[in-house]
């Protein structure tokens, strides 16, 4: 049931934002006020659902608290490391794919939101006014795509390992595509409009991101491997989705 509500919500979000549901962190003050507000409004319901799910995990499945901590820690590490890329500039991964696969997209949106507040306040990276838009791209868009892709690939019969690699890699890329889309919506090219701008911003963000996205995919598999290796030792309820299907 919850799943359908989520899907309906994303369709609604898609209608509200006609052009793209696609965004590195947008710098403080670099989104016009109306845009900043709209992204925040779209984001809030997801954060609310995520908050409720986290509360449920903490109270009903305390054995999963450690795993939740691991997912958050993974986002902390990956989003702090600016890695050089083939294009001659630097960017960082998001780490969101792993938590999306483990706990679903709403929980992982909340975790991204927390990391982005830290970076906006202490690192002047991203910003408070652009927090909504950035949390949407990294948390909501990135993790929803990762989660959906993981479900799809594993349903198709691919191994979980391949599924998690694809989910984390494509989820990472999605985040940066969405950032490019958000910026292009705010700054369409004066002559040829949205798409020209979109392609320009993609050039800055998305291409740089490709090798980093692959790194994120590989690292997610490393964590997955280690978890599976220790599955019999208290992490049998490792994949929340599997567990839901048995209920």
């Amino acid at each position: 049931m919850k799943k359908y509500v989520m899907i309906a919500y994303f369709f609604a979000a898609g209608l509200l934002v006609p052009s793209v549901g696609y965004a590195m962190h947008i710098m403080e003050g670099f989104l016009p006020k109306e845009h900043a507000v709209v992204w925040l409004i779209i984001l809030l319901p997801v954060l609310f659902i995520g908050y409720k799910q986290i509360r449920e995990i903490v109270t009903c499945h305390p054995e999963q608290k450690m795993l939740l901590g691991l997912a958050a820690a993974f986002i902390f590490v990956l989003s702090a490391l600016k890695i050089p890329s083939l294009t001659g500039s630097c960017s960082h991964a998001t780490g969101v794919g792993l938590s999306a696969v483990l706990f679903g997209p709403a929980v992982s949106s909340v975790l991204s939101g927390i990391v982005l507040v830290f970076q906006a306040l202490l690192l002047a990276h991203g910003g408070i006014t652009t927090w909504g838009a950035n949390t949407f791209s990294m948390g909501v868009a990135g993790s929803f795509v990762a989660w959906g892709l993981f479900k799809m690939t594993t349903t198709m019969g691919l191994s979980k390992k391949v599924g998690i690699f694809l989910a984390a890699t494509v989820g990472d890329l999605t985040t940066y595509m969405v950032t490019a889309g958000q910026l292009a919506l705010a700054f369409p090219d004066p002559v040829s409009g949205f798409w020209t701008s979109f392609v320009k911003f993609i050039g800055v963000f998305a291409i740089t991101q490709i090798p980093l996205a692959v790194c994120e995919g590989l690292l997610s598999v490393v964590v997955y491997n280690t978890l599976v290796d220790n599955k019999e030792r208290g992490f049998s309820t490792l994949w929340r989705q599997d567990q839901g299907e048995h209920e």
């Binding site: 958050a72 820690a73 083939l86 280690t226």
Partner: protein
């Protein structure tokens, strides 16, 4: 088995991060977000950011300190987590 695979994967990650440094010897390796703000002023020269960061790290050193702090908090927990897993193995 898993361990071996993990080592291979980690080597691949290091390679992906280091290889660009050889390939693009002339490049500056600036942050992609700075390039985006250049792009914005190109598309719309009139636009002025309407809000400034509440606080900015006073220098590149302080900034990298904070980034390192963020990464080490995360890495610390990940180490604790896997150490805990390994520990439970022996107590059973």
């Amino acid at each position: 088995m898993m361990k071996k695979q993990n080592i291979i994967l980690l080597i691949l990650v290091v390679f992906l991060a280091v290889f660009p440094l050889y390939l693009q010897k002339e490049a500056e390796f600036a942050g992609a977000d700075d390039q985006a703000s250049d792009m914005i002023s190109e598309i719309n020269p009139e636009y002025k950011p309407w809000f400034k960061n509440v606080w900015e790290p006073p220098s590149g050193e302080v900034e990298s300190f904070l980034f390192a702090l963020q990464a080490s908090i995360g890495a610390g927990f990940i180490g604790y987590f896997f150490g805990y897993l390994k520990g439970t193995k022996f107590t059973r």
